[in-house]
């Protein structure tokens, strides 16, 4: 559910490509998918959607490399 929500927003609002087939384990950071400004916008949306403050020290590869990692991070923050 949450993974689907994250993927849908990524496709529609960040990548502007609804036909792209992204799985929850795909590396989102490898070049050719989301650029650095896109990452900023995505994190900003996640922060608003789940109503949590994401402190700078939490903005790391481990938390945002895949949709699975983002879900795990949101769970660890008690947001899900």
């Amino acid at each position: 559910m949450n993974a689907t929500l994250l993927i849908d927003y990524l496709k529609q609002e960040i990548l502007h490509d609804e036909t792209i087939d992204i799985s929850s384990s795909d590396n989102l950071l490898a070049s050719g998918l989301v650029d650095s400004m896109g990452i900023v916008r995505y994190i900003s949306w996640i922060s608003e959607r789940w109503n949590i403050e994401i402190p700078p020290q939490d903005m790391t590869i481990e938390h945002f490399i895949t949709i699975d990692a983002i879900v795990a991070y949101l769970e660890s923050r008690g947001a899900l």
Binding site: I43, Q57, T60
Partner: protein, 524 residues
């Protein structure tokens, strides 16, 4: 004496086979293994009928497979052409068509980029590292099984080695052709200028398609050092990069200023110890001195060097400093390095102390790919004493003051965004093709501040491009313009602000009034 770039690998493999050549994302490859794997891939390329001088594309994220591709192509006698995976498909297809490449080396991680490319009209008949139905493919695993090596190559130092594409003012990117000689001169001169040795660990921040990657890809193997490659993830998350920089025991840093500015803004540097760093090298654009003076305490053992040089000449000047007094004073370009002659020419084509910088160097490109007219416009032959030298016209205005060169600005409308060259005319050319748009001016807006990126602190003070336009029907064309430009130019060149106007502001002399346009720029 070494005359070919790839001979660095065999030499390092012989001297120190177990030394790590490249490292990235917890993976590493020794010189011995790099020598072997590049032999295998080179053999595969020759088995695929690669002819000497053929162009081979590299479409890769930051990964240790990337240097394997580079050196295998060179060993096979080919010319490597890095492709920017984040560029629009039309731009990638243009480079593939322009170079008439038949083979592309990539990886399964590039599946999202590969699906955007339309292979129907391209001459590519073989992909390494992909799995697609349209084209014949070979996996990286299959390359590793090749055991019969019998490479033929008859290369000379003056043969092309690689082509780097950069923004072109006519609307299409242009290819800068470097030879084994010019690439190797760059490796030798950087090694000598900074006293680099096999015990160094050189951080590579730049993607392969950006010319600043040559220090990591060419110089590091030339001296037998370890190149620690910053991954795409680390390049996007400064907090992760701050930790990486200590853990990798980096001794040499080379990147655009923004990388260090973001690192400091992340607030994560205080936790780490960077005393191993002995050189902080930067280039691509000016580094604000007030940022440097705040960064200096984090690197207690480092000497800084301001590196300047258009991709056409690799590097050509340097200015070294360990302290900096006045945070508001500009840092000079310094002086030209060895094997290089620089002259300043005024608008009367006479030698002067203020004017355009012309550079003649062993590190200079052969020319622009497939474009003799552009090459002859940018290169000027001049007699200096008894010599006749070829000079590259940098298009950069400089001043010689107290025996040091200072950067004044551009002669044309090229701008730098995050170190990347952007020709504003290219954006305008594309924008004019939108129905109803009858006049456009692209310009650089005011910097975006930290808090406007939602406290994300990933891109403080980044410059961005704005577009002012007139529409015949008085309609808002932002959507059409943005959609079109996202398909035509790299993401850093896509304007973030669009201003529909009734007329373009002009000065009393009739020129576009950029100051007036800039004042329109909101910090959106």
């Amino acid at each position: 004496m070494q005359s070919l770039i790839h001979d660095s690998i065999a030499r390092a493999a012989q001297k120190r086979p177990g030394r790590v050549a490249f490292r990235c994302q917890a993976q590493e490859i020794t010189y011995h293994d790099l020598d072997h794997l590049t032999d295998q891939l080179a053999q595969h390329l020759q088995n695929c009928h690669l002819q000497q001088g053929d162009r081979v594309g590299i479409l890769m994220d930051r990964h240790i497979q990337s240097p394997i591709a580079v050196y295998a192509i060179l060993k096979a006698g080919g010319v490597y052409v890095p492709l920017d995976a984040s560029a629009p498909a039309s731009r990638i297809e243009h480079v593939i068509q322009d170079t008439e490449m038949k083979i592309l080396i990539t990886s399964p991680r590039q599946k999202f980029t590969l699906r955007r490319i339309n292979f129907d009209d391209l001459a590519i008949n073989h992909l390494v590292g992909a799995d697609m139905e349209e084209v014949e493919c070979t996996s990286w695993e299959a390359i590793g099984l090749i055991d019969h090596i019998d490479l033929n190559s008859d290369l000379e130092a003056t043969d092309p080695a690689y082509i780097i594409y950069t923004s072109g003012s006519t609307g299409t990117p242009k290819g800068i052709v470097h030879t084994h000689a010019s690439g190797l001169s760059y490796a030798r001169l950087t090694a000598d200028t900074y006293g680099l040795t096999h015990s160094d660990i050189i951080a590579n921040h730049s993607p392969l398609h950006f010319d600043m990657s040559t220090l990591g890809y060419l110089t590091s193997p030339y001296v037998g050092a370890t190149c620690a490659m910053i991954s795409d993830g680390e390049s996007k998350f400064p907090v992760s990069l701050a930790k990486w920089l200590q853990e990798e025991r980096v001794t040499i840093w080379y990147a655009v200023p923004l990388a260090l500015i973001q690192l400091r803004a992340s607030g994560a540097m205080d936790e780490y110890d960077y005393h191993r760093l002995r050189w902080i090298l930067y280039g691509g654009e000016p580094f604000p001195a007030h940022e440097i003076t705040q960064l200096m305490p984090h690197f207690p053992s480092a000497t800084w060097s301001n590196i300047y040089g258009p991709a056409e000449v690799n590097q050509c000047t340097y200015y070294n400093f360990s302290t900096w007094g006045d945070p508001s004073a500009p840092i000079p370009l310094g002086n030209v390095w060895d094997e290089t002659h620089g002259i300043i020419v005024n608008d009367q084509d006479q030698l002067d102390t203020i004017g355009e910088l012309l550079i003649s160097s062993t590190t200079m490109m052969q020319g622009y790919w497939n474009d003799p007219a552009r090459t002859s416009r940018s290169i000027q032959e001049r007699n200096i004493g008894d010599y006749r030298l070829r000079y590259y016209r940098t298009g950069d205005m400089v001043e010689l003051r107290d025996e040091l060169l200072y950067y004044l600005g551009r002669m044309d409308r090229q701008v730098k965004i995050r170190g990347y060259r952007v020709e504003l005319e290219e954006i305008e050319q594309h924008a004019m093709s939108v129905d109803g748009v009858e006049a456009v001016v692209a310009f650089v807006g005011k910097p975006v501040r930290d808090h406007e990126t939602h406290g994300a602190r990933l891109s403080p003070d980044s410059k961005h491009i704005c577009l002012a336009y007139i529409d015949t029907a008085g309609q808002d064309r932002k959507r059409e313009l943005k959609d079109l430009l996202m398909d035509k130019v790299p993401n850093y060149a896509v304007p973030t602000e669009y201003h529909r106007m009734d007329s373009i502001p002009r000065t009393s002399a009739g020129k576009v009034d950029y100051a007036a346009l800039q004042s329109l720029s909101t910090t959106s």
